[in-house]
Amino acid sequence: MKTLVTPARLPRVLLVAPIVVATLVTGGDPAVAAEGGLPQFDSAFFLTQLFWLALIFGTFYLLVQGVAIPAVVRVLDARDGKIAYDITRAEEKRNEAAALAAMIDDKIIHARDHARTILSLANREAESVATARLAMFDARIAGQVRDAERRVGHARDTALKELPALAGALIQEVVVRLGETTAECSQVSSAIEATLNEPV
C-alpha cells in the first residue's frame, strides 16, 4: 500500500470520492428541492455536478502538475541558479582582486625595504669614503700648514737678523739725504742696537 499510494498520487486516487458522496446524497426526492427549497439541494443535478467537477478539476490538476508548475519552477530555478552563479563568480573575482592587491602591496613594501637598505648601504659607504678623504686632506693640509709655519719662522728669523743692517743702511741713507753729516755706519748700528734692546 505504501509504495502504491504515495502522497503525491493521493489526489488523483481520491477524485473518486465525490461519486461516493453522490450515491449517498441522492436518496432525497428531487421534486421537493426544485420547487420549495434551495436550488443547491435539487438532487436532480447532483450527478452532473459531481461528474463535471471531477472531470474538470481532475484534468486541471493533472495539467497543473504536469505542465503549469514545471513551467514556473523551471524559470524560478533558472533565475535562482543564475543569481547564485553570478554571486559566486563575483565573490571569486573579488577574492582574486583582493589577492592581487595584497600581492602588489607586498611587492611595494619589499621594494621600499630593498631601496632603503641600498640607500643606507650607499650612505654608509659614502660616509666612510668621505671621512677617509677628509682625513687625508686634513693630514695634507696639516703638513702644508706646518711647512708654511716653518718657512714663516725661518723668514722671520732671517728678517730679524737682517733687520738691524737693513735699518742701518736705511737710516744712513736718510741721514745722507738729509745732508747734514756723513754718519758712521758703526755709530748708526750701535744706536739701533741700543733702541732695539730697550725694554718695551
Binding site: P7, A17, Q40, T48, A71, L76
Partner: protein, 247 residues
C-alpha cells in the same frame, strides 16, 4: 425577483448516460471557464520564460510563490508533493468566486455539492496520508498531550468529533459565505428596483441608500471571494501538516 433564482442550474448540453443525467450545465461551463483561465494565466504567463519577468509572468510567479511559501512554512519539506494540488485548488476556487462576481454569471462554489466534494477529497486525502505515514499510530492524534488521564474520556470523543467536523466546516464555510453574499446582493439590488419602480421620483432618491449598500457589498464580496479561497486552501495545508506531524 427571487434572490435564489441565481443559483439555479440549467443544462446547456443535455447528456444522458444510461438514465443518469450528466448534461453539461451552466455550473460545468463556469468550472471549465475558471480552469481554462487559470491554465491560460499560468502557461501563457510563463511562455516567454524570461529571467526578468514581464507583468503576466510576474503574476503567475507570484501565485506560485504564494502557494509554495504557504505550503513550505506550514508543512515544511514533506509538504512539497502537495503543492500542485493546493495550487490548482486555490486557483480553481479563487477564479470560480471572482468570475461569479460578474453580473449574470453563475458561481459554482455557491453549491454545497461542489464545496463538499472538494472538502471530502481534502479530508480523505489527509486521513489516508496520516494512515500511510504513521500506520495505526495515527490514532494517537486523538489523544492530546499534557492532559490528565481523568479528562481523557471527555477529551478523546471531543477530538474525534472535531476531526470529523473538518470536511463539514470546510465546505459549509465556503458555500455559506458565497451563497449569503450573492443572496444579499440580489436582495438589496431588488430593493433598488422595487423602490424606483414603485415610488416613482421619491423612490429614485430613497433608492440611493440600498444602491450605496450594494456598491459596498460588491467590494466586500470581492474581498470575501479571495479570502474564502485562501482560507480553504490554508486549512487544507494545515490539515496536511497535521497529518504529517500528528501534533
Amino acid at each position: 425577483m427571487d434572490p435564489l433564482h441565481q443559483f439555479k442550474i440549467y443544462s446547456l448540453i443535455p447528456i444522458d448516460i444510461s438514465g443518469g443525467n450528466v448534461s453539461f450545465t451552466n455550473s460545468a461551463f463556469y468550472m471549465l471557464l475558471a480552469a481554462a483561465i487559470a491554465m491560460a494565466l499560468i502557461v501563457g504567463g510563463m511562455r516567454r520564460r524570461a529571467l526578468v519577468p514581464d507583468r503576466l509572468q510576474s503574476v503567475a510567479e507570484v501565485f506560485y510563490e504564494f502557494i509554495a511559501g504557504m505550503v513550505h512554512s506550514n508543512a515544511g519539506v514533506e509538504g512539497r508533493p502537495f503543492i500542485p494540488f493546493v495550487f490548482s485548488l486555490f486557483l480553481f476556487l479563487l477564479l470560480g468566486n471572482v468570475i461569479g462576481m460578474i453580473p449574470y454569471t453563475f458561481t459554482f462554489t455557491s453549491h454545497l455539492i461542489v464545496t463538499a466534494s472538494l472538502a471530502i477529497v481534502v479530508f480523505v486525502m489527509v486521513t489516508l496520508l496520516g494512515f500511510i505515514k504513521h500506520g495505526l499510530h495515527f490514532f494517537t492524534k486523538f489523544v492530546p498531550k499534557g492532559v490528565p488521564a481523568v479528562l481523557m474520556p471527555l477529551m478523546i470523543p471531543l477530538e474525534i468529533v472535531s476531526y470529523f467536523i473538518r470536511p463539514v466546516s470546510l465546505s459549509v464555510r465556503l458555500f455559506a459565505n458565497i451563497m449569503a453574499g450573492h443572496t444579499m446582493l440580489k436582495v438589496f439590488a431588488g430593493f433598488i428596483v422595487m423602490l424606483a419602480s414603485g415610488l416613482g421620483l421619491v423612490g429614485y432618491f430613497i433608492g440611493l441608500a440600498p444602491l450605496a449598500l450594494v456598491v459596498v457589498l460588491v467590494g466586500f464580496e470581492f474581498f470575501v471571494a479571495a479570502i474564502q479561497a485562501y482560507v480553504f486552501v490554508l486549512l487544507t495545508v494545515i490539515y496536511i501538516q497535521d497529518s504529517l506531524e500528528l501534533h
